[in-house]
Symmetry: C2
Subunit: 150 residues, 2 copies
């Protein structure tokens, strides 16, 4: 799968989240052949969940997978992954992460790089604009999602 | 709450998991006054979940909490937290983590320490024995849970 296709699929998830009045972050996990294993968007508001970030939701959607599937997968996410999602990527040794943007939030992507994950930031305009709009509209829920005081 | 009480509560969760034929790891999150906010045990097998580790399940059980609640909480877990659970602790800036044992598995606890989290390992015999037994009985499911090849 080309980087743009993966980010477009993640963005479609983020946009679903926005339309549900949720936090508009989306993620897609793809296997070595380009097949989508799982996709998801942040569920803090919809499911009152403090841990179903987009990346975690995509991993949940993929379900239990064999170790070697993760180790040859690519994760696409609209926004730089927070510490928790970074840790999930490290747990399963997902070797490649493609990030829509890291302007509105820069998570723990340097830790990914330090541990040998191939990280690509595509600086996608649509991802940036959707997130910028949400943060402006609902700063309290955004701060809650990243563990920051309002 | 004394360390032993917290670990006993986490162990009770782990034991529930074992009785459900699940992976016997438990966690409890406690607020500054010692009140339990949430508790949980690993749900890989019971819910076919790749992300509901004990610590994540406890955070889910606690539900959405204000930033300052996390920042004054203590997390008790029967086993050294993996990268994902370490990342969740860092995301919410939980300042204290008490670990039952790190003999059967040592997760990313050094990263917790490096980022300023107070980590205490109590080296609890019951936690060690339950986990040792499970790993011996079901090595494949254990390896799956920590992202290791069998």
């Amino acid at each position: 799968m080309a980087h743009l296709d993966g980010i477009l699929a993640a963005y479609a998830e983020a946009n679903k989240g926005y339309e549900e009045s949720g936090i508009p972050i989306g993620a897609v996990i793809v296997d070595r052949s380009g097949k989508i294993l799982g996709m998801g968007h942040n569920q803090r508001i919809q499911k009152s969940s403090p841990t179903l970030h987009a990346e975690i939701a995509a991993l949940e959607d993929a379900g239990r997978q064999r170790t070697e599937v993760y180790r040859t997968a690519t994760l696409y996410t609209t926004l730089s992954p927070c510490s928790m999602c970074t840790g999930a990527i490290l747990l399963y040794k997902i070797p490649r992460v493609v990030i829509g943007e890291n302007v509105n939030f820069k998570g723990d992507e340097d830790l990914l790089r330090a541990r040998g994950v191939e990280v690509t930031v595509v600086n996608n305009q649509d991802c940036k604009e959707l997130m910028r709009r949400f943060i402006e509209e609902r700063p309290e829920e955004w701060n809650e999602d990243i563990g920051e005081a309002a």
